[in-house]
């Protein structure tokens, strides 16, 4: 495949992610932060996000699995996930977290469990989409091309 084609695919794919709400302006900010001194910045940050989120999701599952659910703890985890997902622009994950927190306040275990499912789902989606995006990026770079800058 030609570099130009790859680049086009990349741009279109990225645009679709934004359009569908998987990513928001914050992600663009990250992309803009990336520069020659830090060419892998976005990938690094997102990887960090994946790592951290997986841990959080596990903690959440465990916390909600308890006999006496400690909602404060659950809320704090969700809050953290909300913060990090919003920081990288994973919009849908963030929104799912917001809904989750409301149920935490109500101390509704069942609703929380279902919210957790929701969050996990959104997270998986976001993860796979981003991984695809990075793969496309890598293809371009390997082929010697440059990544088109996405301006907000």
């Amino acid at each position: 495949m030609e570099v130009v084609q790859m680049q086009r695919r990349f741009v279109e794919y990225a645009a679709s992610l934004f359009r569908e709400g998987f990513l928001d302006g914050q992600f663009t900010q990250l992309q803009q932060l990336q520069d020659e001194s830090n060419p892998d910045f976005v990938v690094e940050v997102v990887s960090l996000f994946f790592e951290d989120s997986e841990k959080l999701l596990n903690d959440l599952s465990r916390a909600l699995d308890q006999q006496n659910v400690d909602f404060k703890r659950v809320d704090s985890h969700v809050h953290q996930l909300k913060g990090s997902s919003s920081s990288i622009g994973a919009q849908r994950v963030k929104n799912a977290c917001i809904a989750f927190r409301n149920y935490c306040e109500e101390q509704n275990t069942d609703a929380c469990l279902s919210c957790l499912q929701q969050v996990k789902q959104e997270y998986s989606l976001a993860k796979s989409k981003l991984e695809t995006l990075f793969r496309l990026e890598q293809q371009i770079l390997t082929a010697g091309g440059s990544i088109p800058i996405m301006m907000e």
Binding site: Q26, H79, S87
Partner: protein, 644 residues
């Protein structure tokens, strides 16, 4: 790879254009600003670090509050500003904020994904100079240097407002690049009357020069020398120049002494209300103080001093407190010291049973009996002083102060009262009605203990009762406030051994705040707090002080609502403080000369950290002294005493 110093190939971040791409010279302010970022979320931390680097700041990151504190302690002047997350596992962000405010007095910016009004308000009340909502955008970080400048500028203003000192020194600003001074207004110094709240926008860019001014730490010894010199000269005759000569400390400038003296005077004034030194001190201070409206600096230290002057506090502890208190400056602006004091004074009893668990605090206390006596004495004699101090602190109780002054004892008691509910109201803003009312009532009662307090209490009680649903009857309280105190219990060991009034009030307020937030978890609305204010308005039969308070509360309500509104927008949070400032302005305009700035009132709270220690000390003593509370009968105070 030539990016190290941000040369030409800056990142594509649009914001980078504003910065000088070339060499990052340390003096090329704001480039090179030393920022410490604390956040337990590694993703956010990494992003923030990158953003700050892009802004050409020098970034140090850590993911634990403890680490941050030790970094700061190990290198007190190594950082210019701190950015901290609110929710952290090892230490609450607000706690860290307090520590930093107490120990290092650096500007601190809070951030969180939480944009709830009460959390933002908490930031304000704890003295954060800004609150950013995550996700943080680089644009929001670009301007954080303004907080550093503003703080330094306020410190200068403090000096400036030392009233009696010569004006000549004002102009000596070390030369720094003033590229950012959009208005090269040296004349700003003349605006010493301006309030120190953060209403000042980045206009005072010319103060960038003040950034590098070394701060004088008023250590215990230094303060003792100062006090000795002042006493030798006689408080009325003590002018900075002479004090400086007497002290004979190399490296100390007249400005340092002047600013310290100003704070000291405020303390004395306040203290004179408590002890017997009053009238002379009072009168002498009234005048100059009026001019120094804006300088609310760390009155905590002043309180200590006055107490010491009253002979009731050991000089040592006073000095320590003083040092700590005065060391922190006015950067927090708009702190209603009087408010604090009053609360301190009047509420010393409250702390007693409230802060029982403040083990650490207690250990820090040295002289129990003395303090207790002082405390007891304070309410009774405070009034005139209160007025004086209130006046000076001005901003929060502007109107009330004025009123009270006019009247004398009764008025002062009224003032005190107003202060109480007022301050409490501030605190209450954050919380739901019931809690607030309970806290308020409980707060109020201890406060108005002695004689005069009686009158005040009555008023207070009346006010509170007038709220109807808003306030529950007085009796509840201690338990409510107690556990928040636990939070405040860990005051830095090196801070203030003394538990004087300031400490108490601050603790109380802190307690309230903490309690409130913990209680309020679910309910974030501000509505209840507004109700409180409304209810305050209800008793129209009350003097116009109340009405004034109401007025201010209105403004504060508006102000309060702003954070919520602004908070919801990403990246706009840093505007909140400015909005609040504008609100504050308008609220102050509402009242003639009174500058009642509820929002700003809260900001100075950090000042009270000193007081917390005092408070704990006080508590300790109180416990030693016995049921102080029992002495004071809060019931049946008659409002009649309060002249209109």
């Amino acid at each position: 790879m030539n990016l190290g110093s941000g040369q030409g190939s800056m990142s594509t971040a649009s914001s980078s254009g504003a910065w000088k791409a070339g060499d990052v010279v340390p003096d090329q302010f704001p480039a090179g600003l030393r920022v410490l970022v604390v956040d337990d979320d590694p993703t956010c931390l990494m992003i923030l670090e990158k953003m700050l680097r892009t802004c050409l700041y020098e970034v140090t990151k850590c993911n634990r509050a403890e680490t941050a504190l030790s970094l700061l302690r190990g290198n007190k002047s190594g950082f210019d500003i701190v950015i901290s997350d609110v929710h952290m596992p090892d230490m609450d962000g607000f706690k860290l904020l307090e520590h930093i405010g107490l120990e290092m007095d650096l500007p601190v910016i809070m951030m969180s994904a939480d944009d709830g009004k009460h959390v933002v308000m908490k930031g304000v009340t704890h003295g954060a100079c800004d609150y950013l909502i995550k996700p943080v955008r680089i644009e929001a970080l670009k301007n954080i240097w303004q907080h550093v400048v503003r703080k330094r500028k306020n410190e200068w203003k403090d000096l400036e407002q030392s009233g009696s000192v010569e004006d000549g020194d004002r102009q000596q600003k070390p030369s720094e690049d003033v590229d950012y001074s959009s208005s090269a207004n040296e004349g700003n110094w003349k605006n010493s009357k301006r309030r120190k709240d953060e209403e000042d926008d980045a206009e005072e860019r010319d103060d960038t020069s003040t950034l590098k001014k070394p701060r004088v730490v008023w250590s215990v010894e230094l303060h003792q020398q100062f006090v000795a010199a002042v006493n030798q000269l006689g408080i009325d005759k003590a002018v900075p120049k002479k004090i400086l000569e007497l002290m004979n400390v190399p490296g100390l400038t007249r400005e340092n002494v002047a600013s310290h003296l100003q704070k000291y005077r405020l303390y004395l004034r306040r203290l004179s209300g408590v002890s017997q030194h009053q009238n002379g001190l009072n009168n002498s201070f009234m005048g100059p103080q009026e001019a120094t409206f804006g300088s609310i600096s760390s009155l905590n230290g002043l309180d200590l001093q006055t107490l010491a002057v009253a002979g009731q506090l050991p000089a040592q502890s006073l000095a320590t407190l003083q040092a700590a208190g005065l060391g922190r400056s006015t950067g927090k602006s708009g702190l209603p010291m009087p408010l604090v004091d009053q609360r301190n004074l009047f509420s010393f009893e409250a702390p007693k049973f409230r802060y029982g668990e403040g083990q650490q605090q207690q250990q820090q206390l040295s002289n129990s009996s003395k303090q207790m006596n002082l405390l007891h004495g304070i309410p009774t004699t405070m009034e005139p002083k209160q007025l004086a101090t209130l006046r000076h602190s001005a901003q929060s109780f502007g109107s009330i102060n004025m009123q009270v002054n006019a009247h004398g004892n009764d008025s002062s008691s009224l003032l005190m009262q107003m202060a109480q509910p007022h301050s409490r109201a501030q605190i209450l803003n954050e919380t739901t009605g019931n809690h607030v009312s309970r806290i308020a009532s409980s707060m109020g009662q201890p406060v108005l203990s002695n004689g005069i307090a009686g009158g005040l209490l009555t008023r207070n009680v009346i006010v509170e009762n007038g709220r109807g649903a808003g306030f529950n009857p007085v009796s509840q309280g201690p338990s409510v406030v107690e556990f928040p105190m636990n939070h405040t219990a860990e005051l830095p060991g090196n801070s203030f051994p003394l538990g004087t009034n300031p400490g108490i009030s601050s603790i109380q307020s802190k307690g309230l705040l903490e309690e409130v937030s913990s209680e309020i978890k679910g309910s974030r609305g501000f509505v209840p707090s507004y109700d409180i204010f409304n209810e305050l308005h209800q008793p129209k039969s009350q003097d116009w002080e109340l009405q004034n308070v109401g007025l201010t509360f209105n403004a504060s309500q508006h102000a309060n609502s702003i954070p919520g509104n602004l908070g919801s927008e990403h990246g706009n949070t840093h505007n909140i403080s400015q909005h609040l400032n504008t609100l504050v302005d308008s609220s102050s305009r509402v009242k003639t000369e009174k500058i009642l700035d509820p929002c700003c009132e809260i900001t100075p709270f950090p000042e009270h950290y000193v007081q917390e220690d005092l408070m704990s000390a006080l508590l300790k003593q109180q416990e030693g002294i016995g049921p102080v509370e029992g002495e004071f009968d809060f019931d049946g105070y008659s409002m009649d005493n309060i002249p209109v």
